[in-house]
């Protein structure tokens, strides 16, 4: 039986190090190639030796697809392609391709320059790796080879995040990457059409959470910042992830604009600034508001937000500063924190809502259900979440949609048996003939049986009428006839008996053509019935029935009917 196999190398019942192998219709695909933030040893990267012990991966993988630029989805990419060895195509969207190298370079710097690790990939390797990338557009169907095709859908989450639909023949898999079903200040909501994949591989970070409306949270946040600024205080906002920073920037920028505020907003330079450059370019990937207004003004060209300089921290008056890193444990945010901590007017926004916002661009339980409803998959597979939470969601999915749901651990293979439809060419003549037999319109809801010959020739399937098949294959037609004798006790003469049979059948089988031929036979359709007296007993007659293979049904019915004897 054809089946689809899914093996997570990372992110199976776990968050981080997303890397999922899918083999579908004889093709092997790697979805995402991420690193794990929690480890510094070999567990940091997926275990590529699962694919092959030694040698390059190129022979075993048909393509690699990266869903978005977060390091837990693309962090191991240079390692895999350059150090383990992979020369095949790598697919990602345009924004991901642009921003991903910045993050990889940053990651490399921290690991090699700061922590002093050796045997790590180099800048050159990142560049080489990026050369293998083929960019994707939304809703563009890309043929990886003759049979394998992929298509990207919008996923929200961060700029350029995509869900991919992978299709071989009639088998298909959708991988969501990380996605978000509620729009935010700079990105829209994930959307997919009703593609009915065999498996939907979905993240499940928030499998057990239903979130409150964003608006309250935004309002609270803005109100607090506003109040603090009005008091003349300074606000420090430590931010975590790329993407969330942009959302907060947009939020504050529009608020400043609306409320006509003058206090400066600063942004610590570095990573986010570089990324922001790309946010300006990829306007088509943002939400409705930004897309519609960018003709007047690109929302990412901030009016009120300026780059931060160390000396500004001492400036008097109110200000807002975004600083990295988010945990206040080191770097700029710590320095500023120390400087400002003395004054009670200042506000340090480390409370729940910011932390909350920085992770919130994932779909919650309701969002996941909504996506399932949109895509209508036949099977469900959960990754990128904690086992216990997945368990809950799995139960819910099975209960509500009555489809199978899997949650394999890392290295564990799930196989799903598919029932692919096999396309067959049908000859037009045959089709027309069948059409003529049936009703005026084909009813799509009812399968219909038809006669024909299936010819399998050089990888193609053809359905033709039997005559044509014979002709094509150069075969002679063979007739197959069944004959049958039936003993009958009947005192009449042969011809009378025959006549009685004729009238008997005539009265029973009203819809059939029954003929009494002069040569002493009765024809029911194409079935021949003859009568001969047996030599010993004039009363017992022998009926000869003969029918061809096609009339098997009618023939056997007649024989059983005649065996019962004639009515007296």
């Amino acid at each position: 039986m054809p089946e689809i196999k899914v093996t997570p190398l990372g992110a199976g019942q776990d968050v981080g190090r997303s890397c999922i192998l899918v083999s579908i219709g004889g093709k092997n695909i790697m979805l995402d190639c991420g690193m794990h933030m929690g480890y510094n040893d070999d567990r940091r990267f997926p275990d590529f030796s699962y694919i092959t012990q030694n040698g390059r991966l190129t022979d075993f993988l048909d393509c690699v697809i990266i869903s978005h630029f977060h390091l837990d989805h693309c962090g191991a990419l240079p390692y895999m392609s350059e150090m383990v060895g992979y020369d095949g195509p790598i697919y990602m969207t345009h924004p991901t391709k642009a921003i991903c190298p910045i993050l990889l370079e940053d990651f490399r710097k921290i690991t090699v320059d700061k922590k002093g690790e050796t045997n790590f990939f180099t800048s050159q390797m990142i560049k080489d790796c990026m050369k293998k990338v083929i960019p994707l557009n939304l809703h563009q169907t890309v043929q990886v080879d003759d049979e394998l095709e992929i298509k990207a859908y919008y996923a929200g989450h961060v700029l350029g995040a995509a869900m991919v639909h992978i299709k071989v023949g009639s088998e298909s898999v959708v991988y969501t990457g990380d996605y978000n079903m509620t729009p935010d200040r700079h990105l829209g909501a994930a959307w997919i059409d009703k593609c009915r994949p065999d498996i939907l591989i979905s993240e499940s970070t928030y499998a057990t959470t239903i979130r409150d409306s964003k608006r309250c949270r935004e309002r609270d946040f803005l109100k607090k910042v506003h109040e603090s600024i009005e008091r003349g205080g300074k606000v420090l906002i430590p931010v975590f992830a790329l993407g969330r920073a942009q959302e907060l920037c947009i939020l504050l920028e529009t608020f400043w604009e609306r409320m006509n505020l003058k206090a400066p907003i600063y942004f610590s330079t570095g990573l986010t600034e570089k990324a922001n450059h790309y946010y300006k370019l990829f306007i088509t990937w943002t939400n409705q508001k930004i897309r519609k207004t960018f003709v007047q003004r690109n929302m990412f060209e901030f009016k009120h937000i300026k780059a931060f300089d160390r000396s500004y921290a001492d400036n008097p008056g109110p200000m807002v500063v975004f600083a990295t890193p988010g945990m206040l444990h080191a770097g700029q945010s710590l320095q500023i924190f120390k400087k400002w901590a003395g004054n009670e007017k200042n506000m340090l926004d480390v409370k729940m809502q910011v932390e909350y916002m920085s992770f919130s661009a994932h779909a919650d339980a309701k969002g996941i259900m909504q996506l399932i409803r949109m895509a209508e998959p036949r099977n469900m597979l959960l990754v990128h979440g904690e086992a216990a939470k997945m368990e809950f969601l799995k139960g819910k999915i099975e209960q509500e949609f009555s489809i199978d749901c899997y949650m394999p651990a890392n290295g564990e293979t799930t196989s799903v048996i598919t029932n692919p439809s096999v396309p067959v060419d049908m000859s037009l003549n045959l089709l027309k003939r069948e059409m003529a037999l049936g009703g005026p319109l084909p009813d799509p809801k009812k399968p219909r049986a038809m006669h024909g010959t299936l010819i399998m020739k050089e990888n193609s399937l053809k359905l033709v009428s039997s005559e044509q098949a014979l002709k094509e294959l150069g075969l002679n037609e063979h007739q197959l006839r069944f004959t049958c004798r039936v003993q009958l006790q009947d005192p009449h003469s042969d011809s009378d008996t025959l006549h009685r049979i004729y009238t008997h059948l005539k009265s029973l089988l009203k819809d059939y053509t029954i003929q009494h031929l002069p040569d002493g036979t009765v024809m029911v359709e194409s079935i021949v019935i003859k009568v001969s007296s047996s030599a010993e007993d004039a009363n017992s007659k022998v009926l000869l029935l003969s029918w061809s293979y096609q009339d098997e049904d009618l023939g056997s019915y007649l024989s059983s009917l005649l065996k019962k004897g004639l009515p007296t």
Binding site: I192, T209, R215, R219
Partner: protein, 976 residues
């Protein structure tokens, strides 16, 4: 000469009478008939191949065809159709047939037979579809024809089994447009209908196609069903289940149409009971439909989401239980139930703790949830609006806000619940949505009282930089109820902050505080000492009277004091002085108060609104009495008449100032009487007895008077709304008098005979048209000037101009004063320019040759269609004047009969040596052709208007209707 004149006059009239019998145009049409169709025929014959023929047809389609030649053209087209082998040409012909059938005045039933015949032989599906489209056009042209309808329905039923979707689509459309549910027509005539199998039940035929394989056909079937509904046929409830199934169709247009059908059914059968699948329970159909449509608010296609959200708003019969679910979204975090931020805010408020937001983890999850009870797929209406309001597309959000509004208006408890959500929408990223939600909150504000924390959120928006938003919010605050005195204080503080930040909002903020004060007198009372900063022992410094913030506080306090008699006791001395000042300067914001010891001074004003309706009545009575008094003046010669008029005018003007409700009517009467007075003065005896050269001066005054009366009549006609045709007739009557006066004066001063003849002619025409226009009103004009003239009409027509003038003169002087009857509601259009204020001493500097934009903000009241009528005039010191037509988008409509014009005008001028002032004012443009004294009369004879000279039809002009504002500008010479 007179004979000549008479002849010409007769000619004029005879021509008017003749018009209905005129045959000429008809003849002309008949002539064109053969040429048109013949040309087409020749063209088509000439065409050697199908491309050529197609080209000819396309060219032909560009020109209209006269009614008479339609039939001929159709014959030719059909003839060609039978011969044509090319599909595209046949298609074009079929579509032309449809176009031609639409020709006005052509009855297309003769086309039906031919088209139906061709249907039988047609092989191409596209052409078939087009032919059916033609039949559809014919069918809609003849909706009631008993002969055509069943035939078309029969054809449609027959072709429904076609394999091409377009044909099936058109058939369904035909059925939708023409099918009858139970055809009484067919039953009566039994014969033909029995042959048509399907006519009995068009609905079941259509609903068969709900499950067609082609989504376009499914959509067409649903639309056809809707069409049936729109035509007033009752749809059966049976299709409900099918329609619900289509809600989960793969194609958005099907889902969208299905939402509509489900909605229609829920309105038709709200109380039917439907079973819930997979359980034994049953619910009302409207609830079930509501749940299903709610589900569509989280559909994949935003078009469907908009549709669903809109539809929800009109399902008012839904049970409150279901309604409230739409705002419910059970939160959880790690499988533990969480309260929403809204619930937390409410609890915090209830516990009396001041919202600090500093409590650590106050949103920490509470009790553990049982996994079995958590329902993730929202069954039913759960959280529909929560989703809708958070949607990605602002179209959906707006639709959801509107739906919330409709539902909340009919259910106070729901209004209470949706408050939090609406307030949240004040923070939306798109201004339109914010504005809409503020408006919605205003509309439902009668049902609700804002809590302090909610008010806080609302007030935060006061700092918005968009003026529209702020003003909408002020409007909202005018209607809001608040619960505590802290709320009042909070609102006042924020409004003052707003005033400080945006000084231009002054008027709007004051108005807002006026309503706030008069709504919550008891809540303001305890705040008074603090607000006025009075102290029991010490005298506090007297605040600055020009401070807008102080005025704002006073407006709040005085309006509260109106219904709170104990309050004035808390005022300090200067407060009373300030009251007197404000009562005079801002009388529309400060109500009359009963202040101790000051009654005498304000006795005139103390017509206080407590007995408001009574005072209006008495004022009305007074108005009527004044008018009656005036009507005793028999004719313009009566002695003492002038004095009486003078006094009455003065009385009326004062009345208008005192009683704002009657201002329009009083003004109207006063202006009318002023016209009469002017006329009277102009006709004074001694003036006319003198020889012409001696009374040059009087002549000048009379001419000026005539001119002024004319102007005033235009004002009377176009500046006031609510006039009935009787008043319009009176106004026209005065105008006619003024014109007669002018004619007399012309006759006296300029003896040029040609000129006199032509003006006499014109005058007679005007009398004629007056008679035509106000035929029904003539009985009311008894004894008037026109009445007299009409009696003398035969004589007038035959006499010489000099004699005519004499007659006019005597009848003018003898004719009595027409009594003015007041219509129910009369309003004077008025405009106030709020900005520029004209107070600035800083000139607006700009370089000559370039432009400077001047912001104009004005309120217009009682102006109909201001987009077309209101213009801005700029007068430069050198006498140049520019009239600027503002864009339609610059007008906003904040309330009934109220408009707001916010626009920019561009000024430019050559260099000046020093700054000077330009005048800006608003003009009301009018055109007498657009004024319909009585629309029925107008439309009655407008058919024959073509023959009349256009000069009579339209007098255009403008009336200034706002006080001019002076703006200081300074065009500097360009620097080189």
């Amino acid at each position: 000469m007179a004979a000549h004149l008479k002849k010409r006059v007769y000619e004029e009239f005879s021509r008017v009478v003749q018009i209905p019998h005129e045959e000429a145009p008809a003849k002309k049409l008949r002539l064109s008939k053969p040429s048109k169709s013949a040309a087409l025929h020749i063209d088509l014959c000439k065409a050697t191949n199908s491309t050529d023929a197609l080209q000819y047809l396309l060219q032909f389609a560009r020109k209209p065809v006269e009614v008479e030649s339609v039939e001929g053209v159709i014959r030719i087209l059909l003839e060609h159709y039978y011969k044509e082998t090319d599909n595209s040409v046949r298609l074009k012909i079929a579509s032309l047939l449809g176009l031609l059938s639409k020709t006005n005045g052509f009855s297309p039933d003769c086309v039906v037979d031919d088209v139906i015949n061709t249907l039988g032989n047609e092989k191409s599906h596209q052409v078939l579809a087009q032919l059916l489209d033609t039949l559809l056009v014919v069918g809609t042209q003849l909706p009631e024809s008993p002969a055509v309808r069943p035939r078309l329905v029969e054809v449609a039923c027959k072709l429904l089994s076609d394999t091409y979707f377009g044909v099936r689509n058109k058939c369904l459309q035909l059925l939708g447009c023409l099918g009858m549910v139970d055809t009484p027509l067919a039953k009566d005539s039994d014969g033909p209908s029995s042959s048509i199998g399907g006519v009995r039940d068009v609905q079941s035929i259509i609903s068969n196609y709900f499950s067609d394989q082609d989504p376009r056909v499914r959509t067409a079937a649903l639309k056809a069903m809707l069409q049936l509904h729109e035509r007033g046929l009752k749809i059966h409830q049976i299709i409900y289940e099918q329609a619900c199934r289509l809600l989960s169709d793969d194609y958005e247009q099907v889902r969208s149409a299905a939402v509509q059908i489900v909605w229609v059914l829920s309105q038709l059968y709200p109380e039917s009971i439907v079973p819930i699948p997979s359980s034994n329970e049953e619910i009302r159909l409207v609830d079930d439909a509501f749940g299903k449509i709610s589900h569509m608010v989280s559909d994949g296609s935003w078009m469907v989401r908009v549709q669903a959200a809109k539809t929800l708003g009109s399902m008012l019969q839904v049970s409150p239980h279901f309604l409230e679910q739409t705002l419910d979204k059970k939160l959880m975090s790690d499988l533990r139930r969480k309260r929403t931020a809204h619930e937390r805010a409410k609890e915090l408020f209830a516990s009396g703790e001041f919202s600090s937001g500093r409590k650590w983890a106050d949103d920490a999850p509470k009790e553990k949830l049982d996994t079995n009870t958590v329902n993730l797929i929202a069954s039913g209406a759960c959280g529909a609006f929560v989703h809708g309001l958070e949607d990605e597309m602002f179209e959906v959000r707006i639709a959801a806000v509107e739906a919330l509004c409709q539902l909340a208006r009919s259910s106070p408890s729901f209004a209470e619940k949706c408050l939090d959500f609406l307030v949240d929408m004040f923070n939306d990223e798109i201004e339109e949505v914010r504005l809409q939600s503020i408006h919605v909150l205003r509309e439902i504000s009668t049902h609700i009282t804002l809590r302090e924390d909610q008010l806080d959120t609302v007030l935060a928006v006061l700092e918005d930089s968009s003026r529209d938003i702020r003003e909408a919010l002020h409007e909202l605050l005018c209607y809001t109820n608040v619960s505590t005195k802290e709320c009042i204080q909070l609102a006042l503080l924020d409004l003052l902050k707003n005033l400080n930040k945006y000084p231009t909002d002054r008027n709007s903020v004051w108005k807002c505080l006026k309503f706030l004060g008069s709504r919550h007198p008891t809540l303001v009372l305890p705040l008074v000492p603090e607000l006025l900063s009075t102290h029991p022992y010490f005298d506090t410094p007297e605040p600055d009277m020009d401070d807008p913030a102080y005025i704002a506080v006073l407006v709040l306090v005085f309006n509260a004091a109106k219904s709170c008699p104990t309050m004035p006791a808390l005022f300090s001395d200067h407060t009373f002085r300030h009251y007197a000042y404000l009562r005079d300067s801002l009388s529309h914001l400060v109500p009359p108060l009963r202040l101790p010891g000051r009654k005498q001074v304000y006795s005139l004003d103390s017509v206080d609104p407590g007995c408001g309706s009574g005072s209006v009545e008495s004022a009305k009575l007074f108005l009527q009495q004044s008018l009656n008094r005036v009507s005793t003046i028999q004719n313009l010669e009566t002695p003492g008449a002038q004095d009486l008029l003078n006094f009455t005018i003065r009385d009326l003007q004062r009345l208008g100032e005192l009683q704002t409700e009657l201002a329009g009517a009083a003004d109207f009467c006063a202006t009318y009487l002023r016209c009469q007075l002017l006329l009277m003065k102009a006709l004074q005896e001694k003036l006319w007895n003198m020889a012409v050269p001696l009374c040059l001066k009087q002549n000048v005054t009379a001419t000026a008077a005539a001119q002024q009366i004319l102007e005033e009549t235009y004002k009377l006609e176009f500046l006031y709304s609510g006039l009935e045709s009787r008043q319009v007739a009176t106004i026209h009557h005065v105008r006619l008098q003024a014109k007669a006066l002018q004619l007399i004066l012309t006759a006296r001063t300029r003896p040029g005979l040609d000129l006199l003849i032509s003006s006499c002619e014109k005058f007679l025409q005007e009398i004629e048209s007056f008679q035509r226009m106000f035929l029904t009103e003539l009985p009311h004009l008894q004894d008037g000037f026109v009445d007299k003239l009409l009696e003398l009409m035969p004589r007038l027509l035959s006499c010489k101009p000099v004699e005519l003038v004499k007659i006019l003169q005597s009848s003018l002087r003898q004719s009595g004063l027409l009594q003015l009857r007041l219509p129910e509601q009369i309003h004077r259009a008025s405009a106030t320019i709020i900005e520029p204020t004209g107070e600035s001493d800083n000139p607006l500097r700009f370089t000559t040759g370039l432009v400077v934009a001047l912001d104009i903000d004005a309120t217009l009241e009682h102006v109909q269609e201001p987009q077309d009528k209101v213009k801005v005039q700029v007068l430069y010191p050198d006498g140049q004047s520019h009239v600027i037509h503002p864009k339609p988008a610059d007008f906003r409509n904040p309330g009934p009969n109220r408009h707001r014009l916010i626009t920019q005008v561009y000024l430019s001028h050559t260099a000046w040596t020093e700054p000077s002032q330009v005048e800006v004012r608003l003009l009301l443009a009018y055109s007498s052709s657009s004024s319909s004294p009585s629309s029925s009369i107008k439309s009655g004879w407008s058919d024959s208007i073509d023959g009349l000279p256009p000069a009579e039809a339209a007098v255009e002009g403008t009336i200034p209707f706002s006080k001019p504002v002076k703006v200081y500008i300074m065009p500097k010479p360009a620097r080189r």
